[in-house]
């Protein structure tokens, strides 16, 4: 093939968002079509599916193929794109009769609970009927075509991405409105008789013809951008415009006239004009929500079998132990240049990023694979611990303090830039876990000491998976309680979480001891709504009432505010601020400045903010609530927005510096390829970070609303009670947005050195 032609055909602009949207629409439609086909096979033959799929393909061609790529250079290409958006994709999609399949494809709860009030709202239904009334829809498409082809607006679309998208959205959706009465989308009632669609289409063709004639016969270039664009293949701007007009004229007219002729032939064959059809549409009931067994990861093929394997955890822990050993060894004895050392790269860039992503997608799998507890498990085969963890220390205060110290130490001591210090931190972790759990029974290190564990426990409260019982009734007849007591072949839960009364993922290490111990095999890893347990006021086994525990609230505040302080500390403006004060005060080291920043950011500001918000909430609740209880309840609701910031921050480092392991591994293995991909931030990364922040904000606000409704039983009082927390959440969100826009130090990568 000619190289130029090959280059043209290879010029696709695949946008991830577009592809995901089209795939989601296709999956929804397919799911609903399969269900409807089982009920009404004649109404939903394979042709409907093919038409809908064809419409989606036409959309993809319009928005991602070389037609889109060359639209800015050639008006002809741009015109083909518009034709696809106006006259190919919408009628094909509507021929698939998409409404019922898309609705039936949704999860039943989304369809009934989320969309139900909107679908049954009289005013919105009237609005919908008005939008697809032939008069309204005809004028909508005619206006869209004429206005957007005026030179002023056409140029606006060419010069601005956002307006270009608006233009395409106008074309597509006005065309959906236009073709709706022509296709006769089911199960809506047609407003006009079918023969009226003939003049409807004919008049639309007149508009199209008029506009096409202007483009074809104009003696000057209407759109200056094409005058300025480089000419390809010797095509002049005026010839290009004339060709575009011809494309709009001929295929455009065919798109209008063919359906008009077909409708005319049908009317002729029927022998009479068809009047408005009476409502012969069969009733399609809203599907009932039947109780189904929740999705269980342990019941999935292959993966479920692997997870249920008795020694699965040991194998994973052994692998992680080996990796930790290699990293520690390289950190102690390897070169002390962070980007060239495994200890400078893997823990700070890859492990942190992967850990939060796994938390988001699954749950606390890090603790499942934790290597720090493996040595103590082996030691316990020879020496059993003798003591119980002191009662006065059975809280999260120690862990919260250690976490604050860890976050301070990360900035003050810069372990990310010192492989040896990182290695000593890892070793210290092993030693501490070994000593604590050799002396004290249960998983005292995990539950009361480990800062990393607390990070995962707190954020696993918004994970989509949870270890929980499948059938509560089965546990009702159990009196051995193997899940917590253990039995001859398996120990029970070392974190004292009794499965029938377990609430959420807090303190759960996903060790699956309960799964192995339960003789009824009634414990699984089930799908849950993210953040469900944040709104639950019940007492949970082993954790009490989370929303009444000040130690948990303190832990949450350190983690939430720590997310923003930790990220901000790596941005250029904050670093420059710290250096300015360092110079102004003539200090020898940055440690005092960092200490002030972290003391303020982790202790003072969160304490004052949460305290003030709690005081205002108590005042506006006017119902004699305890300040402590209310503050703790609302503090838990901040977890999603804090988790979102951790996600945004760590994914930034992970995806920007994902290739940073290559030079370290090659140096360790003594190979040299010299082929290092550039550490450039992908263009989609800011979008992902904004998406995380948006979702975190929304989940926090929703949780805050539910907590407020529980406290004061809904309504305007709930809005008043939650308003201080809304302001706090919005402030954190705004801080997160600001951080994302700032240049960030890429620690542990070649970009730093």
């Amino acid at each position: 093939m000619d190289p130029v032609a090959a280059a043209v055909f290879a010029s696709w602009t695949l946008d991830l968002k577009l592809v995901c949207l089209l795939l989601a629409a296709a999956a929804l439609y397919l799911r609903g079509w399969l269900r409807l086909r089982a009920e009404m096979p004649r109404k939903y033959p394979a042709g409907r599916l093919a038409a809908f799929a064809g419409g989606l393909c036409a959309l993809l061609l319009a928005l991602a193929s070389p037609v889109d790529t060359f639209g800015g250079l050639l008006l002809q290409a741009h015109m083909i794109q518009h034709l696809l958006l106006l006259m190919v994709a919408p009628p094909l999609i509507l021929l698939g009769q998409p409404v019922l399949p898309l609705l039936r494809g949704l999860p039943r709860r989304v369809f009934r609970d989320a969309l139900g009030p909107f679908l049954s709202c009289l005013e919105l239904r009237q609005l919908g009927r008005a939008l697809v009334h032939p008069v309204v829809s005809w004028f909508a498409m005619a206006a869209a075509i004429v206005v957007w082809h005026l030179p002023r607006f056409y140029e606006l679309g060419l010069h601005s991405q956002s307006w270009h998208r608006v233009e395409h959205a106008c074309f597509f959706w006005s065309a959906v409105m236009f073709w709706w009465p022509v296709v006769g989308v089911w199960p809506s009632n047609p407003v006009w008789p079918r023969w009226a669609m003939i003049p409807y289409l004919g008049l639309a063709d007149l508009v199209n013809t008029g506009l096409s004639a202007v483009l074809t016969f104009s003696d000057h270039v209407l759109y200056p951008s094409y005058q300025l664009s480089p000419r390809l293949w010797g095509i002049s701007a005026l010839d290009d415009q004339a060709a575009a007009g011809a494309i709009m004229w001929v295929p455009g007219s065919i798109a209008f006239l063919v359906p008009a002729v077909m409708l005319g032939m049908r009317a002729f064959e029927s022998g009479r004009a068809q009047g408005v059809q009476p409502a012969t549409i069969p009733r399609v009931g809203v599907p009932r929500i039947r109780a189904r067994a929740p999705w269980d990861l342990l019941q999935t093929p292959i993966l479920g079998t692997i997870l249920r394997y008795r020694h699965f955890r040991r194998c994973v822990q052994a692998g992680m132990l080996l990796l930790a050993g290699v990293v520690t060894g390289d950190g102690l004895f390897g070169p002390q240049i962070a980007p060239m050392n495994l200890a400078g790269v893997l823990p700070w860039t890859h492990w942190r990023g992967l850990a939060v992503i796994v938390l988001l997608m699954a749950g606390n799998l890090f603790c499942m694979a934790c290597p720090f507890t493996l040595p103590r498990d082996l030691a316990r085969k020879f020496v059993a611990p003798r003591y119980r963890w002191p009662k006065r220390l059975r809280s999260k205060w120690i862990a919260a303090g250690l976490l604050a110290a860890y976050l301070w130490g990360y900035e003050a001591l810069a372990p990310w830039d010192s492989p040896r210090l990182t290695a000593w931190i890892i070793l210290g972790y092993f030693i501490t876990a070994f000593v604590v759990d050799s002396l004290f029974k249960g998983a005292s290190f995990c539950k009361y000491v480990c800062p990393i564990g607390q990070f995962h426990f707190v954020h696993a409260l918004v994970s989509p998976l949870q270890v929980k019982v499948r059938e509560p009734a089965v546990c009702g007849s159990c009196d051995t309680h193997d899940c917590i007591r253990g039995n001859d072949r398996q120990r029970g839960c070392e974190l004292h979480l009794f499965q029938p009364r377990k609430l959420g993922n807090f303190d759960c290490t996903f060790c699956l001891d309960c799964v192995q111990a339960c003789p009824q095999q009634n414990v699984g890893i089930l799908r849950v709504l993210p953040g469900e347990s944040l709104r639950d006021d019940r007492r949970g086994s082993g954790i009490g009432r989370l929303n009444r525990r000040p130690d948990v609230a303190a832990l949450v505040l350190i983690l939430v505010f720590g997310a923003f302080v930790n990220a901000a500390g790596m941005t250029e403006p904050v670093m420059m601020w710290m250096h300015r004060w360092h110079a102004r005060l003539e200090l020898r080291s940055m440690v005092p400045i960092v200490t002030v920043l972290y003391a303020g950011g982790l202790l003072i500001v969160p304490g004052i903010s949460a305290g003030a918000c709690g005081w205002l909430s108590v005042r506006w609740a006017q119902a004699g609530f305890a300040w402590k209880d209310l503050t703790c309840s609302f503090t838990l609701a901040l977890i999603p927005v804090g988790f979102a910031m951790w996600l945004a921050h760590f994914s930034n480092h992970l995806f920007t510096g994902w290739s940073s392991w290559i030079p370290a591994i090659e140096r360790f293995l003594r190979v040299h390829s010299g082929n290092y991909p550039p550490a450039l931030s992908p263009s989609w990364l800011p979008c992902l970070e904004f998406l995380f922040l948006d979702l975190g904000l929304l989940l926090t606000l929703y949780t805050t609303w539910r907590v407020a409704c529980r406290v004061v039983h809904g309504g305007r009082r709930a809005l008043r009670v939650m308003s201080p927390w809304v302001v706090l959440t919005a402030s954190l969100y705004a801080a997160g947005l600001w951080i994302v826009f700032q240049p960030m130090q890429m620690r542990g990568t070649m970009l730093m050195h």
């Binding site: 130029v4 090959a6 280059a7 043209v8 010029s11 602009t13 946008d15 968002k17 577009l18 949207l21 959309l59 319009a62 070389p66 889109d68 790529t69 060359f70 250079l73 958006l85 409404v99 019922l100 609705l103 989320a114 969309l115 009030p117 909107f118 679908l119 049954s120 709202c121 919105l124 239904r125 609005l127 919908g128 009927r129 939008l131 060419l158 601005s160 991405q161 956002s162 270009h164 998208r165 608006v166 395409h168 959205a169 959706w173 709706w180 199960p187 809506s188 009632n189 951008s225 300025l228 480089p230 390809l232 293949w233 809203v286 263009s683 800011p686 929304l698 969100y733 947005l737 826009f741």
Partner: protein
């Protein structure tokens, strides 16, 4: 089953076409050696931060695209003298007729762009200038993500209001039925 026409306004608000004309805005066009060179930049308007610089190389006479050249770029800020070197390749371009290089412009202001083209052992150079806007303009390009939460919140409150109204209507209906009975 409720009429489906309502789905249309809901979907119209939710979705938008995601597309962008490749290459971006034309910065300048020059003829140098045997080439006609057109320089594009995106985003539009050009602002400090991550940008994409694309070039279309054409034979000066027949305007056929040239696809086998080696292109390098040198950008120099007129104010501070900061320099950026980059190689423009077709692999980095979405439009495979263009040569593209992603660069990060650290500051706004006027930048000089020097293009060096090597083809068949011959070297050709062209120069031009670009005006770069401050970074704050980038915020506008992410307006959709900032507008998303308020839209969802508005939809949520509309949902809650509709639910309450439906419940009230049902209660009133039951009261009327009781009264009739």
């Amino acid at each position: 089953m409720t009429p489906p026409k309502l789905l249309l306004p809901v979907l119209m608000i939710l979705t938008q076409a995601a597309a962008f004309a490749d290459g971006g805005a034309v910065q300048f066009r020059q003829e140098a050696g045997g080439f006609a060179i057109t320089v594009f930049t995106s985003p539009a308007p050009l602002s400090a931060g991550a940008v994409d610089i694309s070039l279309l190389l054409q034979n000066r006479n027949g305007l056929e695209p040239v696809l086998d050249a080696s292109v390098s770029l040198l950008l120099r800020a007129q104010d501070s003298g900061a320099e950026i070197h980059a190689r423009a390749t077709r692999e980095q371009a979405r439009n495979k007729l263009l040569y593209a290089a992603p660069v990060t412009l650290p500051e706004s202001g006027r930048w000089n762009l020097t293009i060096t083209i090597m083809r068949n052992g011959e070297r050709t150079e062209a120069m031009g200038t670009m005006d770069v806007a401050p970074t704050s303009e980038m915020v506008a390009s992410y307006w959709g993500y900032i507008a998303f939460p308020p839209l969802v919140i508005a939809a949520f409150f509309a949902h809650e209001w509709l639910l309450r109204r439906r419940m009230q209507l049902r209660i009133e209906l039951r009261i009327k039925r009781c009264e009739i009975i």
